[in-house]
Symmetry: none
Subunit: 410 residues, 2 copies
């Protein structure tokens, strides 16, 4: 028996280090996880260095690596991936930026980097896309992301990605001009286009009805845009060509849907998903099961544990992991499917950021050699039959298990 499909469940930032608040256990060790434990008992476990031992991954580089696209070759900054995740079709050579709507005070200083965590910015983006005109034949897209977030993409001949950000990072400072970081003409052109875009967009936002009504309600207006994460979109060999499987991605984070779209996975929207602890877990799992009826590969990213780690909250992280586990129960009855669960990186509460600690990994389904691990945790999985693998090995191993690998030699 060989499984025909793969569900890759990435539990974003799930793994951790021992927490004194949890009696020296990690949030994953302290959580109630009967579903993940059953996967461990029925499958083969291991630990994985998403990129390599001691390399502290971003969510973007980790996902690229785990999906079989080595970040040293494929990663060109977060901007183009965020833009793709905001629904902009990024062609190779386009320059992408992450964007925040923000609030400037009367002196032109940043009063709120997130414009009061504004939601529903599509009308602002639409107005900007309709009215802004850039010079030198440069076209652009500007689309909303989650909450105050958005993405800008520039398209034109000879644009470079090496430009600075206008995000002063701290409130109370004026956003600086965007500057080229090299002396190359193409980076200068990009910087000029950004500054031109920001001037015109600022004028449109200042007068926009949505901002007028926010001011009337005493809410901070979204009267400026902060750009960062500039990068040039690369050329990704489509996932279906590379791994001989059609695939979908289900994720709340635009970064992850962006990575999925960039490599040719179909992005499946799920109502009510937020990327936080209040996300619609059941809806995501249901959507994943539905996709497995149509595709051979589904990437399902669940993000809340990462947030608790960034916030340094081990108890909340433990609770969220238990809730995730409950929502995963329908995966246990999947047939003809490899269910793969792992983290993309560790987010230790003690560090409040990503760490290079390996992530736990389980592969459960037809044909796997079952080891003696009975618990899904950082230390239990370290005793498993997969041992310690690099993230780059995961897709080749899965491809081999579903019998879509090609033989090297005869």
């Amino acid at each position: 028996m060989t499984a025909g499909r793969v569900l890759l469940l990435v539990l974003d930032g799930i793994s951790d280090r021992p927490c004194s608040e949890l009696g020296g256990r990690t949030p994953l060790e302290a959580a109630e996880t009967p579903v993940l434990d059953r996967l461990a008992r029925e499958g083969i476990c291991g630990i994985m260095d998403p990129i390599g031992p001691g390399i502290r991954p971003g969510s973007d580089t980790a996902h690229l690596s785990i999906l079989g696209y080595p970040p040293d070759r494929y990663y060109t900054g977060r901007g183009p991936l965020e833009a793709e995740g905001c629904g902009i079709h990024m062609e190779p050579g386009m320059i992408g930026f992450r964007a925040n709507f923000a609030t400037l005070d009367r002196e032109g200083r940043v009063a709120d980097r997130r414009a009061g965590r504004i939601h529903g910015t599509a009308p602002l983006c639409d107005a900007i896309e309709k009215e802004v005109r850039l010079k030198h034949g440069i076209s652009f897209r500007f689309r909303p992301g989650a909450g105050h977030r958005a993405a800008l993409a520039l398209k034109g001949a000879d644009l470079g990605p090496r430009v600075s950000s206008n995000d002063p990072k701290t409130e109370g400072l004026q956003p600086p001009e965007i500057k080229p970081l090299t002396r190359e003409a193409k980076d200068r052109r990009t910087a000029e286009a950004c500054n031109d875009f920001l001037r015109q967009a600022g004028a449109i936002l200042a007068d926009h009805p949505l901002n007028r009504s926010r001011k009337e309600e005493g809410l901070p207006p979204a009267n400026t845009i902060l750009l960062r994460g500039a990068g040039e979109m690369g050329r990704f060999e489509p996932f279906a060509d590379r791994f001989h499987m059609q695939g979908s991605v289900i994720a709340a984070a635009t970064l992850i849907t962006g990575i999925g779209r960039a490599i040719g996975l179909e992005s499946v929207p799920v109502p009510g998903i937020t990327g936080s602890a209040d996300t619609n877990l059941g809806g995501k799992v249901k959507a994943a099961l539905a996709e497995l009826g149509k595709k051979e590969f589904v990437l399902l990213n669940i993000k809340g544990a990462d947030e608790a780690g960034h916030d340094g909250l081990p108890v909340q992280k433990r609770e969220f992991i238990s809730r995730v586990d409950t929502a995963l129960e329908p995966l246990l009855s999947l047939e003809d499917t490899l269910v793969v669960a792992c983290g993309d990186h560790s987010t230790p509460c003690s560090i409040r950021d990503h760490s290079a600690d390996p992530v736990p990994l389980v592969i459960r389904g037809e044909g796997v050699r079952v080891d003696r691990v009975t618990r899904f945790s950082e230390t239990a999985c370290a005793e498993g039959g997969l041992h310690r693998i690099p993230g780059s090995a995961l897709l080749p191993i899965l491809l081999d298990l579903v019998n879509r690998a090609r033989k090297y030699g005869a």
Copy 2:
């Protein structure tokens, strides 16, 4: 105490995945293997990715890797290695092909790709070597392999390896002309030489007394030759220079003896070895023991388990493994010798082909650190003290254990 010699026993395709026919065990787990288990108990175990995690190896690339010759550098197709295994001394630059004797019907279509699994083709090969004359100063060798198999080698200035096969793969089709796969003159020269060879050989075979008597007996005549696996012989640093040990190879498969000869191992013939379940196991083991009296390194390849895997027969595979184990009993009393047992790749019955699942590995002999593994199987060895190693690490580890490694640094 340090062992002075190494017996590398490659149990071709021995490892597998859980088989429902064997109650969820692998054939190796289900087999009676007291000898291999004793090696495991007295030695150090691990699992090995012959080439790398998730890379599905051929027997050729796996053996090259395990023998310390990285296939990405040394592998140039199966043809030249098969030719070497058929006793042709392949010089760097020569072009080698695998060959089948086959039967054409009156309309020139392939009626039997194996000419009724003909044996004893040496007279046919001799006649062809004597009578065929190629143009442009190209010389050739054409030697028999096992059964209907043979090998062709071309030698001449400026011959290229990138040419197509004339094997239509399915019976009932005419063999196509061999064509160059590039526009390079050297590949064109090779294709022309092959087609010329095939025309002349066909005429010789049509009239050959052996084929006339086959027809009289109602057997399909070997009246044509199918060529495939073209490759250019590379330059192999001799094993003795690379690893400071003189070595021999004992294998039924011409591919394995060819690899052994290519790297400078002496090929030791054993009567009655077939590469199948009916092979002369005792004879091979006896020959290996005899060689260890003369050489520091012996590669012993036993192939039958691989065949059962390719045929998808878990019970037969289990039985063959048990028989192999019985035949290995004399190895237990070897002294001053590292006995190393491993697979070259897995051949799961569920896949009927090679897979990338790691292979079990045991090293037993003077000086090894004995771990707690007591069973030679895929999952038991995964708990061993060697952990998970790449095939490229095996020879350096063995060299170190027999104290022939050189220090790096001071």
